[in-house]
């Protein structure tokens, strides 16, 4: 009978609705329990962006956007990408590899908690280097070190290049260059290192050092001349 079938159908639909409601209620409750049970330090491993792009191929700005949304995974990729650069920069300031690694880590932690301040303008490296530079300078200031850029002559076994054994002449030449660099005025040495070791453009250097581009260009060019003179003298 149509009326009975209709009633039956209505009954089944109602039961299905109740079942569906119960299912979603239980699922929600389960997810809620899991959320509260999950250690808040746990890292949800996700090596992809929400759009499915691998994090490793994502730009710094996009990774920062994800970090700003709370993704520690994305931030971890940024750390991985620039880790050596930051440690190297810090070591140029403090001259000690372990301390440099400590300062680099402190820089990253600081950036994580200030990530909301970053504006995606394609200048992540400038932001990063500025933070690392400030961190190192503050450290040196607290320690009473006057030099802004305390590059020291690092012994070959302390983070020296692995190619030193393969190319003794080149290694010797680089040691002399390092020695000559250490004799340059701080501002000149910093300009040279930012330009060539960090591979920055003058426009980027100007933002980090807060000096004019022409001043920095002049420091780099005079610095190269001075380096050559020092190397000639010590031949």
């Amino acid at each position: 009978m149509p009326s009975c079938e209709h009633a039956l159908a209505r009954g089944q639909t109602g039961r299905h609705r109740r079942d569906a409601t119960a299912f979603w209620f239980n699922t929600g409750a389960l997810l809620g329990v899991l959320w509260f049970a999950m250690p808040k330090g746990a890292c949800i491993v996700q090596r992809e962006t929400p759009t499915g792009a691998p994090l490793g191929e994502t730009t710094d700005d996009d990774l920062m956007a994800l970090a700003q949304a709370g993704s520690q995974e994305a931030f971890g990729v940024l750390v991985e990408r620039h880790a050596r650069r930051v440690v190297r920069l810090c070591r140029r300031f403090v001259g000690d590899s372990d301390l440099a690694a400590e300062l680099a880590q402190a820089t990253w932690v600081d950036l994580w908690f200030r990530r909301g301040q970053y504006r995606p303008d394609g200048q992540f490296v400038v932001w990063l280097i500025t933070a690392a530079r400030n961190r190192c300078r503050n450290h040196l200031r607290r320690r009473g070190v006057e030099r802004k850029y305390a590059l020291t002559v690092v012994a070959p076994d302390d983070g020296g290049s692995p190619e030193q054994n393969d190319d003794p002449l080149g290694a010797d030449r680089r040691l002399r260059v390092r020695d000559a660099l250490a004799r340059l005025p701080d501002a000149m040495r910093e300009a040279l290192l930012l330009r060539f070791a960090e591979d920055l453009r003058y426009e980027e250097m100007a933002k980090i050092v807060r000096s004019g581009e022409s001043t920095l260009r002049s420091r780099v060019h005079h610095g190269l001349q001075r380096l050559r003179q020092l190397l000639e003298k010590n031949k």
Binding site: R91, D98, V177, H221, L224
Partner: protein, 84 residues
């Protein structure tokens, strides 16, 4: 052939700080002038040495792990204190 440029000009050449025209003219000169070519090579080697100076050996994976672990606890303790 144009006269040999001075050292400052060669430095500006290797630092890519010259105009396109000047760069073309000087590059052509350097390619045919043995003295300038030697100077140019010496400058490029010097820059390469500055570039490789201070390469660090770092266990990147451990470094990243250490940073990420500190993000949870907001470990902002001063480096000076921890190093001491």
């Amino acid at each position: 052939m144009m006269p040999c440029p001075n050292e400052r000009t060669l430095i500006r050449l290797v630092d890519q700080a010259l105009s396109l025209d000047e760069t073309e003219r000087l590059t052509e000169h350097v390619s045919v002038c043995a003295v300038c070519r030697q100077q140019d090579n010496a400058l490029r080697t010097l820059i390469a040495d500055v570039r490789v100076d201070g390469e660090v050996e770092l266990n990147v994976e451990a470094h990243v792990r250490s940073v990420v672990s500190r993000l949870y606890v907001r470990d902002t303790s001063d480096v000076d204190e921890r190093v001491a």
